[in-house]
């Protein structure tokens, strides 16, 4: 048992802190709206800045831009990035399709995609969920049929996050309907501008456009766009979803948001209420316990085996992320109802954060649903860890 970081780790933390705070421009870090063109630009610029320093895809194999970091270093990188308010590398690129191609793709595929994926020259989106599948991902029905040198894709995907910005999509398709459902799935790469691909925005309750439906109608892609082996897509999908043990819980970002809420509450006078103080103390303490758990996982995860506490990170991490977003709404009280004031910037005297607090709160209701709902996490804990 040892509290202190090693001298190297401390130097590493300092290096990260300095870079994120001093070398990522402030305008890229603050007040980025979601879902608009300005947002896309900020994401791309940030990732390219990070990539230039080797900080965009540290978990990848070193030959493709990864870093030979310990899990603790990855944790530090991730936390410092969030604490500084830096937009993290696009998950679809950095955490999802990149590692899959690096591990399972052909040499041609690696050559064609990896560098551009790391640098966000290609923006990827995910074609997994379907309207009738929900948490039961493997029951998907989008089909890909081999026709000569092509795959022909037909079907519908949904919840495709930021698909409106994407150049390419990685799609799970059923390529063999005659075996048990997990066994007949392949992963295929498809350009978003291919003929027959249509994107339909889904409006969310926060008023924003973040997710989409994607329709495939006789979409043809060359056979080489198949990732790895035919019918092995489920394996890749599981690899992809279980790939990251670092950054499962958005601790740094939530800490930052809680500090902002505290600061604003002081400004508005809401912090004079001891009951609000008590809420903040509780949240800070739960967040501390969560951060320490994330550190424990990072510092002491042995080899490739997922630490049992990973599901705790996801579960508790989203609960706290949501609670802090709820707190910020409370801090602004009735001023928080004027969310649309963000669109008439000069025509409103409401504090900027008052305008975005509720949309953020509403948007984050998704955090306990997407990416393995909290019910799925409880199932994992009960089944895999407790053996129930």
């Amino acid at each position: 048992m040892q509290l202190q970081l090693t001298e190297e780790e401390r130097a590493f933390r300092e290096e990260m802190r300095t870079f994120f705070n001093d070398e990522v421009p402030k305008e890229l870090r603050d007040g980025i709206g979601r879902g608009d063109e300005q947002f896309k630009e900020a994401v791309v610029k940030t990732q390219q800045l990070l990539n230039a320093k080797g900080l965009a895809v540290p978990s990848w194999p070193e030959e493709y831009g990864g870093q030979d970091w310990t899990p603790l270093q990855k944790h530090i990188w991730h936390e410092e990035m969030q604490l500084a308010g830096v937009i993290p590398p696009l998950a679809f690129n950095a955490n999802m399709i990149g590692p899959v191609i690096a591990n399972f793709g052909s040499d041609e595929m690696k050559e064609k995609f990896l560098a551009k994926t790391a640098n966000l020259d290609i923006w990827w989106c995910q074609g997994f969920s379907e309207p009738n599948a929900g948490s039961d991902l493997a029951s998907l029905s989008t089909k890909a049929v081999r026709d000569g040198d092509d795959w022909v894709i037909n079907g519908q995907k949904t919840w495709t996050t930021l698909g409106q910005h994407a150049d390419w999509i990685f799609v799970l398709c059923r390529t063999n309907p005659d075996v048990k459902k997990q066994a007949g799935i392949s992963m295929i790469l498809c350009p978003m501008d291919a003929e027959g691909v249509t994107l339909r925005p889904i409006q969310l309750i926060d008023g924003g456009h973040e997710v989409n439906e994607v329709f495939f109608e006789d979409v043809r892609v060359p056979a080489e766009n198949l990732v790895g082996e035919e019918n092995a897509g489920w394996t890749y999908a599981k690899f992809l979803l279980g790939n990251e043990r670092v950054g499962v819980a958005p601790v740094g970002a939530t800490k930052r948001n809680l500090a902002i809420a505290k600061e604003k509450a002081q400004e508005t006078g809401a912090l004079d209420d001891p009951a609000l103080q008590a809420t903040i103390v509780d949240l800070e303490n739960e967040l501390l316990a969560l951060e320490l758990t994330a550190l424990r996982v990072a510092a002491n995860s042995d080899g490739g085996k997922p630490h049992p506490a990973s599901s705790v990170l996801k579960l508790k991490g989203t609960v706290l992320q949501q609670a802090v977003s709820e707190l910020l709404v409370d801090v602004f009280g009735p001023l928080s109802v004027g969310s649309g004031a963000a669109d008439v910037a000069d025509g409103s005297d409401l504090p900027a954060l008052a305008r975005t607090a509720t949309p953020t709160y509403l948007n984050l209701r998704k955090a306990s649903i997407y990416g393995g709902s909290n019910e799925v996490q409880r199932q994992i804990i009960a089944g895999n860890i407790l053996g129930l």
């Binding site: 929900g134 969310l204 006078g269 709820e326 649903i369």
Partner: protein, 368 residues
């Protein structure tokens, strides 16, 4: 002691329910996409049914009904989360005029409101979170109020300034000031309203409006409780319906006990809320001590805040992704519950106020 509606109240409920029947998610979305954020035609229909004049005296065009009738309407509005500003315009703004206005003001504003021809709005919040921001200079007002619910659409604004209430015509604001409108969280509209030596008339005799304003805040809190209750009941029934029909892993979701138990907890929240908001309305109807009404309003709002968050959050969670979309009504419910929660004081604010009297009584006595 009776929690049941009488026959007339039930008839009123059925009539309003019938009128609002078509308000599904798609209709609501269309309506709220365009200014003024509610359906003018529906507003007129509500007027024609007598709903907009419900609590006002007959001599100004109302029907002289009591809090129970108002609560029935608010609940039906909430049930389909109709965007028409019943509580805002009729209960709160209209209530202020009824309480303080001169005969002429009552006739004009309440008459117009009852007929669906004049929309009043209350401008009380400043963008700094207090109720200041506007100063009085002779017969004019200067300053900023924001957010003003329905502030841009309103024909008449009731402006809280220096402790008094003033009647300002919308057109006078446009001539001497500005109104910038935008969407609110729940798809409604609010505005920044700036006054620049804008002509204004005192509401009633122009004295200190504090007591009457506090009382109307209490009455609006109670009415919001019913609107929220209606929304919660719909949120619960949509959720149970979804659990019964949605299939995952080859079975319907109600096969999963962890989910059905959470629906049971939602039911518990809704039932407890129903009891307390109905009680608050009965306390109001029983008139008597204004302090009792204010206390009941705070208690009702506290429960509504807690239950509204519970129902709003769980309804989405149990629906999964579909609950996050504007295509599906359940998310609309959450946005409305969130809005009501933060108007006129959330649960923490009610708790803070209730703490102040904590040692002045032993037990809470609900019955006089």
């Amino acid at each position: 002691m009776d929690f049941l509606l009488d026959d007339e109240q039930e008839a009123l409920r059925d009539a309003v329910r019938g009128l609002l029947k078509g308000y599904d998610a798609e209709k609501r979305r269309q309506v709220t996409d365009a200014d003024p954020g509610f359906d003018e035609a529906m507003w007129k229909k509500l007027a024609d049914m007598g709903v907009l004049g419900l609590p006002f005296p007959e001599d100004v065009g109302g029907s002289g009904a009591g809090p129970a009738e108002v609560s029935v309407v608010a609940e039906e509005i909430g049930r389909v989360i109709a965007p028409e500003p019943f509580v805002e315009a009729v209960v709160f703004a209209g209530g202020l005029v009824a309480a303080l206005g001169s005969d002429g003001q009552k006739k004009e504003i309440l008459g117009g409101l009852s007929a669906g021809e004049l929309l009043p709005a209350v401008a009380w919040m400043s963008p700094h979170g207090d109720d200041e921001g506007v100063t009085v200079d002779g017969d004019t007002l200067t300053g900023v109020k924001e957010p003003v619910l329905n502030g841009a659409r309103a024909d008449v604004l009731l402006v809280l300034a220096e402790g008094g209430l003033f009647v300002v015509k919308g057109e006078d604001v446009d001539a001497h000031g500005e109104r910038t409108s935008y969407r609110t969280v729940d798809g409604g509209r609010a505005a920044r309203v700036s006054f620049d030596k804008t002509p204004a008339t005192p509401l009633g005799d122009g004295g200190d409006a504090h007591d009457a304003f506090e009382m109307l805040v209490a009455i609006a809190r109670i009415a919001y409780g019913h609107e929220a209750l209606g929304a919660m009941e719909s949120g619960l029934s949509m959720t149970t319906e979804y659990l019964k029909t949605r299939k995952q892993f080859g079975v319907t979701l109600n096969t999963f006990q962890a989910l059905t138990f959470r629906a049971a907890d939602m039911y518990t929240s809704v039932e407890l809320t129903r009891s307390i908001v109905m009680w608050a309305t009965m306390v109001l109807a029983d008139a008597g001590d204004p302090a009792l009404v204010k206390d009941a309003a705070r208690r009702s709002k506290l429960q509504v805040s807690r239950a509204g968050r519970h129902i709003g959050q769980e309804a989405i969670q149990l629906h999964g992704g579909i609950g996050m979309t504007m295509e599906y009504a359940v998310g609309h419910i959450t946005t409305r519950l969130t809005t009501i929660d933060h108007l006129l004081g959330d649960g923490r604010e009610q708790g803070r106020a209730l703490r102040e009297n904590l040692t002045s009584y032993g037990v809470v006595e609900p019955l006089p």
